[in-house]
Each structure stands twice: as structure tokens, then as C-alpha cells.
Symmetry: C2
Amino acid sequence: MDFGPARLRVESGADEEGGSSVGRKPKKQDRVVVALGGNALLRPGEAPTLASQVGNARRAMRALVPLVESGKSLVLTHGNGFQVGNILVRVEEALGKAYAIPLEMCVAESQGEIGYLLEQSLQNVLARNGLSRPVVSLLTLVLVDRKDPAFDEPTKPVGPYYGPKRAKELKRHGFPMVNQKGRGWRRVVASPEPVEIDDVDTIETLLQQGIIVIAAGGGGVPVVRKRNGMLEGVPAVIDKDLASGLLATAVGAPRLIILTGERAVFRDYQAKNAKRVPRLTIDEARRMAEDGQFPPGSMGPKVQAAIEFLERGGTDVLITSIAWLGRALGGRGGTWITRSSKRGA
Amino acid sequence: MDFGPARLRVESGADEEGGSSVGRKPKKQDRVVVALGGNALLRPGEAPTLASQVGNARRAMRALVPLVESGKSLVLTHGNGFQVGNILVRVEEALGKAYAIPLEMCVAESQGEIGYLLEQSLQNVLARNGLSRPVVSLLTLVLVDRKDPAFDEPTKPVGPYYGPKRAKELKRHGFPMVNQKGRGWRRVVASPEPVEIDDVDTIETLLQQGIIVIAAGGGGVPVVRKRNGMLEGVPAVIDKDLASGLLATAVGAPRLIILTGERAVFRDYQAKNAKRVPRLTIDEARRMAEDGQFPPGSMGPKVQAAIEFLERGGTDVLITSIAWLGRALGGRGGTWITRSSKRGA
């Protein structure tokens, strides 16, 4: 495609600066990893269609424009719960008519599907705003530890809800199932900790050239390294916020932005007097977690990802919603988490 | 992942040579685009399962080892007919239970699925052979012309075979259908010519760093540029050999290798006295095509892709099978097509 007059040249004969034609060489300190939550593509109560997702993707990508305009070097990660759930339904409904694929391959398919949606949407939004930046979406494998205790106790629900009869059948076929109060049975799978982003060298190369990278979709395709050194996929899902934090560390990004359904972290979230927490140090975040302020499966993994990223040397983490991103970047919303009490941003 | 002692360094502080730790800077003249045919992942008569594909992928990737060993810089493309057909079946069987996605998004999913299969398989095969080269799989959009006459006359069959009743229903829903003698009805979609590989700058960047790139799977996700400049997916499929040839030209690869079910191009293919054609010039290939030697949908598009690639400046094209690749590279098999009568290789 034609990226317009400011098109990035990366041919053999390109200048040593690697991207002088976009004005300047992208700097490591300008790197930001933005993790798009599942809500970014389908909000609760919306029609669960592709049309909804297309509209939401456009809105989400528009929210990223100020970051690109301000010269940030973006890595975009995304959740895939809704999409991979639908892929699992399709696989199951077509059993006997189409070959079955394991969960990790469903994750790979969802990276293709969502990567396409986001890449095209972001390219269009950037073009409409007169911005010329290549965008690429990578299939991303993420290594997990085969001895991760998560494999002994699957906890992450995936896919559709089943009635008790079908749940029993699936259980007999070796799939662990969980009864979700009133809504039915669901498969549960292991959610091991991400250990290493397989494609980090590639992402590094692309960022150095000023290319916006979409990666680690759905937390990445989970693979283990076998004793003989070979990679092998495992039917698990990796928390996308933990994978995003790990990726941010791996590419030396000082900032991680977690976009979720809530505009900020709240104290006493479920209570009437819930109060937005504008900023937190690691210690304060840890204390809130110990107080049980963050339910698992929602704000819990996000705060955990933030703490781990900051402990590994990250500068700051912003947790907010797409609608609030602009204000939060201006210091008027969201929750900023930093190592010490000096505020980030 | 750990690529071992020769791991490619691409961090900010990397040396100017960009890859000295792998011994040398990859050269443009060493670039080869290898197009894997559908037969590479599922051969006629094999059980249409994922297990078959996993075994075949490993065999196909092993055949590429000599190319990597000899210092070639690889771009791997692949077909997706069987896999996208199965995705279409899954989408249809789950209608009403999972959201529907259009054909181009099915192609994107198949790029994720097959990209994962090939990337992991190739990484393992290389590691087993003591070779340290990063492998990455890219979601690839390919631009087509919205005025391509193919859109007026869909010809490419996709997806499952239907009975006459279901075929009638689908026809009523606006899907063009074709009756394939005795085997049933199938959807037919447009197969427009590829005009531009959207992600070619990114692929260029990666090749310069010695990274093996898997791209343009299934011929690429077909998109058009609308009058307002925006990209939009179209429900079509692009011939993967034509897209591979275009990609080879775009990255300046002198060589295109098309791996198919046949070990070579044959004269009088259907006849008893079919004879392998060891080498062809563009002119000879064109004459054979005019003689009707290449049926459409099989050897036809491969020879067309070869001719077009050579006309745009390519040096040589090899058409052979995975099993024959080694011998063909040694000049003892396959069909080499070159611009003039001086033999390539």
C-alpha cells in the first residue's frame, strides 16, 4: 500500500538512521505497550456480532491516535476471550464435518482474525488522520513452563456454556468443567504464567524501524519447550495482561497501558462509596491486593501485571478505559501505578 | 526463545552490520520465495485431520533445511484451500451459535492457524539441525483492484460440497454456486489478481535482519482501497502462486520456488507419454500455455506466476515437489523456468 509522502523507506539502500524519512529514529524511551481488553471489541450487552466488533475496533484505534501523533512507538496487544470462545463453538458444532483443532490453534486463528481487524482498522484510522506509519500483525508464540502448577489445576473458563448432560459428556472426554452459578457449565483450562515471548527479537527489529506492531494476541499461543529442545503447543490460555507486561519488559518499553472496561482502579469497587484511585505505588497496589480489593479474573491480573512490570524496571503503568484514555494521559483520569510515589506520565 | 549460541542480536545497541553474529549480513541475491502448495500439508487420499497436517508440515520444513544451510534468505508462502474450506464449514455449522465471519476473515484465521503450524515446525526442524534462525509469521493483506473483472465472474470454488437443496438456498442468499460434475455444488468466489503486498516494507526489514518470514498465506487477505483511501476486505481469494511471485518481485528475490504435488511440469500431462520438461524459457512456457498444456486451477496459475515473475526481472523459477526439491536444486529434477535459454540454478 501507499503510505503517502512520508512513507517509511526500509529498502536495502536505506539510510543508516533507519527511518529518517519519518522525521526521526524511534527511541526506546518512547515505546508503549497498549493492552486492549476484551471489552474494547465487544462491550457487555452488545450484539455479539462481527459488526459490533468492527465499530468498536475503529473506536479503540481512534483512541490510539494521540499516542502515535505524540511520537510514541506502539506495540498493541489484545484479548481474545469472546473470539476464541466463538472459534471453539464452531469447532465443536462442526465435529465430524471439519477437522478438530486444539485450543492453542484456536488461539492462533484468533490472532489472525483479530490481528486482521485491528491492523486494517488502525491503518485506516491513521490514514484518515494523515499519519503514515506501517502496522503489522505477528503470530506470537509465548513460552510457558511445563511444570507451571496451573497445569495441575485448570481455572480459566473458555468457550460456551453447556447444559449438565453435555458437560458430563465432555468431562468423560477428559475436559475439566466448572459450574458457573446459574449460567451453566464451561470448560476450564490451565492459565500458566508467561515465561518468554518467542518473537521478541522480531518485534525489536520492527520497532527500531518505526513500525507499529500488533502482537501477543490473546496472551500468545502457549508453547512449552520439551526436554529435547523442541517447541510444542499446549491447550492453555495465557493471561494477556501478564503477557503484555512481559513483552513491555522484553522490548524495554518504560510504559504499559492497560485498556479495560473500567475507567480506573477503584477502592471498594463493589460498594456504593467506590472511589477512583488516581495513583498508586507498587507497595500501595500490593496492599490493596492483599486487602482483597481486586477480584481474580478482572482487575486482579491487571494490577498483578502492573506490579510485575514495574518490579522488572518499568517506569509507569496506566489502567483506564478507551473512552478515558485521552484524559488519563493528560493526568485527569485513570489510575497511574509507579514504582515510587513520584507520579509517572 | 533461546536460539542458541549463534542467536541473532537485534537490540538497540546491535552493530551496524545488523546480524554479524550469524556470520554475515543476509544478501538480497540470496533471497528465495518458496510457495508451499496445498498438497504440502494434505496429500490427496490422506485422512483430512490435523495430525496428517502436522506430519506433512514437518516433512515440508525438513525439505527447506538445505536452503537455509546454504545461506538462503527465505520467505515462505503457503496455500490454504483445505484449511479455509474447513473454517467455512465450521462457520456455517455454527450459524446462530457463533457469529458469522466473511471469507476474507476466514483467510486471516487460516493465516494464523497455518502460520502457527509452519512457524513452530520450522523452528523445531532448524533447531534439530543446529541452525539458528528466527522465524516469524505475518498476517498479510494483499491489495486487489476493485475493478478486477474477476469480481463480475466468480470462478474459484471454496468450501464444502453441498446437495442441490442447500445449494439452492445459498444461491438465494446471494452466493454464486457451481455444480462440480458428480461431486456436488460448491460456492464460487472471485479470484482477482494481486496488485500489491501491503506488508512488503515490513518483510523487507525482517529479511535484512536474517529473519525467515512466513507471509501471504492463502494468497493474502484480499483488500481493496476505497475511493476515500480506506482499506476494506473483500470476500475473494487470491491465487497464492501469483501473490508469491508478486512478493518475490517486491523484495527483489531472484528466485521463486513453487512446491506442488507434481515433481515437475510435464508435456502432455494427461497422456501416457507424459514427459518431464527439465527447463523452459518464458517463450517456451508461453507457447505450452497457448497449446493448452496447463489446465486452469492446477499447473496453469503456477506457470503464469512464473512467467510474470520472470518478466518483472526475476532470474529463475523452480517448479517441483517437496520430495524432489533436493534433487531439483542439484539440477536433477523439477522444471526450471528462466528468461532466456541460459539455465538457472
